[in-house]
Amino acid sequence: MAFLEVKAVSKDYGGVRALSDVSFQVKQGEFHSVIGPNGAGKSTLINLLTGLARPTRGAIVFEGCDISSRKTHEIIGMGVGRIFQNGRLFERLTVLENVMMGHSARKPPSLLRLAYSPRNASVDQAESREAALQMLERFGLAQYAGRQIGSLSYGSRRLVEMAKVMVGRPKLLLLDEPAAGLNSGEVERLMSLLQVLRKEHQLSVVLIEHNMNMVMRLAERITVLNFGKKLAEGTPAQVSANETVLAAYLGEGYRSAAL
């Protein structure tokens, strides 16, 4: 049984077909990348995987459970974590509070618990605070803990978002262009962090990225989308040697660069 299975999924928006009959599988612990030109349907795919949109046809099965009609917070609660394309953090919370929000799925906020067992609530609070501080430490962000999000650089904000997702201990991590807007040093840092975290948590990853350097170095399998259809799937070596992929997305320049 596959860990994550996308089964013949199509998605229409009005008359526009954003995804057409796309299938692929992700094994447990696999680093899977989805690439393709802008408008190929990559973000639509991630929205389907997180319940922000429903497939028009087909099914998405995560750990043997059909999640295509589940609510977003339920899917996240099953062990899925997602990073947004342009970063989405809570501006009115501090860095630490933002990271603590990553616990929401495992410990849903409850008024009854607050009112009737304040002691348990304060234990929860201390635990999630401790976990968040540790994660900030891991990401080299501990000194920003008390700061407002707005005062951080773009690169640091992306890392905070990553720390927030990791605090929720996901089994499957969905990354929507995590390297966009980062400088090359920050991209290197992000890659090494991803590799370490992956090993530590037996994490499966679906990565959407235009940075081919990152994709080729990290991914074990690649699915290529073009105009909502699956163009190819294979190992990085297979994909970068595929004539249709070169023509549609990577370009002739990539062949010479890769050689």
Partner: protein, 331 residues
């Protein structure tokens, strides 16, 4: 750590001093001013509740006065018609207001933004119509009289000065609990929902549940305000819980400073007292009142609390630059 302890100690000292001053207040001013202060404290309770709904969770509720009305009528009907103990009436009032908000939230919070605001406005209007027409139970537009006073061991809170202490304790407790909620996962979740609903749900939050919880908690606070209102005036009538009161609560929160506990209380006091301070203007006072509120919104969009926070940080910065080292209380 030392610095933090010193800060906490001075904060507690400031609190104790201001509570001490507050407890002496009724002896220093006339009965009329105590009455106004009581009204301001009752409004504070309601606005602290609205702060969960609008200030934290970002939902514009225009029915807050009717929720308070639920609490007020529950205690009034319970004590006058069924002869219940007023303390039991208080509990029933709070529970009624909370349950009313919870059900409304379940039904209406699938509506977003302005649609929710309009729907709650409709609820407040309906509430007034229903209460005015159920004459048998609510006394219609004449209201209900003869609500007994609260008593503890024979001490009745039946005068302005006596009621003041009760109201003060209630508002302090409500404010402390509000601060506790704000710094819990629930408080953070409410703020997250207001900041970015999509990101909140992708963080694993059940956004609707968080909104319903905020509305319910706000409803219980409004219920406390309603109960206090009924036991203070010892009389309830529909017009005290009309949509215009709901709008006044919103104005109090915005003028005081959304999403701050101090601001909620400040706003309630300023909006209650301002008409009195502007009395010498005669009938022109409403114009000046409106202009002042507008000016406030332009000059201090984060409200009075934001203004104070700004002044405080300036003052602190000045101290630390001018007298570096001199003003250290702790190592």
């Amino acid at each position: 750590m030392n610095k933090k302890n010193a800060k906490n100690a001075s904060l507690i000292l400031a609190l104790v001093l201001s509570l001490g001053a507050a407890s002496l207040l009724p002896n220093a001013v006339g009965e009329y001013w105590v009455r106004l202060t009581n009204a301001a404290l009752i409004s504070s309770a309601a606005v602290l509740g609205l702060n969960f709904v609008l200030g934290y969770a970002g939902q514009i509720s225009m029915m807050h006065a009717s929720v308070a009305g639920m609490g007020a009528y529950a205690v009034a009907i319970g004590t006058v018609k069924f002869g219940l103990n007023p303390w039991l009436g208080c509990l029933i009032g709070m529970a009624t207001a909370g349950a009313f908000s919870y059900v409304t939230g379940i039904l209406l919070l699938r509506l977003k933004g302005h649609y929710f605001a309009l729907a709650t406005l409709g609820i407040n209007v309906s509430f007034i119509i229903v209460v005015s027409n159920l004459v048998e139970i609510t006394g219609g537009s004449n209201g209900l009289t003869g609500i007994p006073a609260l008593t503890i061991l024979g001490f009745a809170f039946d005068s302005e000065r006596r009621f003041y202490y009760l109201a003060l304790v209630a508002v302090v407790l409500l404010a402390v609990f509000a601060s506790y909620v704000r710094h819990s996962q629930l408080g953070r979740s409410m703020i997250a929902v207001r900041d970015d609903e999509l990101a909140a749900s992708v963080s694993g939050l059940n956004v609707t549940a968080v909104k319903v919880t905020a509305l319910t908690l706000g409803g219980v606070y409004a219920g406390v305000a309603g109960v206090m209102f009924a036991l203070h005036a010892r009389f309830v009538a529909p017009e005290d819980f009309s949509t215009s009161t709901s709008i006044v609560y919103l104005a109090m929160l915005v003028v005081g400073g959304e999403a701050t506990i101090l601001g909620s209380i400040l706003g309630a006091f300023v909006i209650t007292f301002l008409p009195e301070w502007l009395r010498w203007l005669g009938s022109a006072y409403l114009v000046i009142f409106g202009l002042l509120v507008l000016l406030m919104l332009f000059l201090a969009p984060r409200g009075l609390a934001g203004l104070f926070g700004f002044a405080w940080s300036k003052w602190k910065a000045q101290l630390s630059s001018k007298e570096a080292g001199k003003w250290r209380f702790s190592k």
